[in-house]
Symmetry: C2
Subunit: 195 residues, 2 copies
DNA sequence: CGTCTATTTGAATGTACTCAAAAGCGGTGG
DNA sequence: CCACCGCTTTTGAGTACATTCAAATAGACG
């Protein structure tokens, strides 16, 4: 059975047997333990990491050590600091495993090589970026349009699985509120649903 | 002299004379007057619009009619609802000219045709999306990490030209604050710089 | 000019934050 | 397997950042 990384690509472009094994030759499998870092800010993000299993967070750290989660990467999604990966500048973001996870990595140099050798991969990556940008635009809209409670509601709808897999602290950080306040929102919610 | 749309493409991929005229054959030039709409929410975004001159806003409209500006499109940048353009679903966003503007449009059908006929355009569009996504990720980080005053400061740094071209009301909408509060922030700023 | 919209300013209000303390939960080692 | 330690969650009181509403002023446009 082919690697799920390959299956992901084949959703958008079809590959020959040779191309598949060529791509697979670049993949490095890696296991991460919960709380293990994949990328520390200021390092260069040299790898694109496809998530086979588990869940990572991509985040920045503020003045007082608070984490600001830019996005979550779960199964069949990607973890990288795009800017650093492309430009080889020091990373803006940190990446850390939130569960024991398994990933498949390809280095930025090998990635460029692949795009040059198999140009149709440009299409696949273009579509990947397209989807990420659409999600990112929606996130901006939500942050501009909705209050904390509404954003929490939308989050629960969009990531029903994450709701239980990760701590409220992490969810609060993603929503842009304090964990204390999220706790209060949840308490309210019960009150209005139980009577 | 070649169209600046073409020049933009050639920053990333080189084109033959034939390819250039093929691309140009699809471009429709259009002039917009200030406050003219390019896209109304719920319509389908059938065109990718390259901004030759002027400035547009891409935004949503909330419950009470407030505008939430997702991004500004200025010279040498793009205006479209990406999701609607790709999927042909009704648009999430509105697009409106903030100044008299000149744009060059290509329809989504012709765009797909171009990508198929000139595959190296995939690379150009991939890079365009890459840059947009990087900017979008930074915007999310700013909204999570910074308070209103800091976001205003960053905005002024990033778009020094816009600061004077558009109304404070629009800037406030982009920053996610009320125009009244932005006015107060600016008043404070003078106080601390004048003494 | 006159009208319409944008900006400024102030007072009252609200949403979300800080700080602190208590309770809950999960993992680890004896 | 239980006890303990550290971290997360809950709860409450006080506070701060930002909003709402209102009214006055200033600017822009036909």
């Amino acid at each position: 059975m082919t690697h799920s990384f390959i299956q992901n690509i084949q959703k958008h472009v079809s590959l020959s047997i040779e191309e598949i094994s060529y791509i697979e030759s670049f993949l490095k499998l890696k296991k991460l333990k919960k709380k293990e870092f994949l990328l520390q800010g200021k390092e260069i993000c040299t790898n694109l990491s496809y998530i086979d299993k588990g869940c990572l967070k991509i985040f920045t750290i503020g003045e007082n050590g608070e984490e600001h989660i830019i996005f979550f990467a779960i199964e069949d999604w990607w973890a990288l600091d795009l800017k650093s990966f492309i430009t080889k500048e020091p990373a803006r973001f940190f990446i850390e495993a939130m569960e024991d996870s398994e990933i498949s990595q390809i280095s930025n140099d090998n990635f460029q090589l692949l795009l040059d050798k198999i140009p149709k991969l440009e299409k696949w990556f273009r579509i990947l970026l397209q989807n990420a940008l659409i999600a990112s635009e929606n996130r901006i809209d939500h942050k501009l349009s909705l209050n904390a409670e509404q954003r929490y509601f939308e989050f629960s709808k969009k990531y029903p699985s994450l709701e239980t897999r990760i701590s409220q602290r992490q969810i609060a950080s993603y929503l842009g509120i304090t964990p204390e306040f999220l706790s209060k929102l949840r308490a309210q919610k019960w009150k209005s649903k139980k009577p």
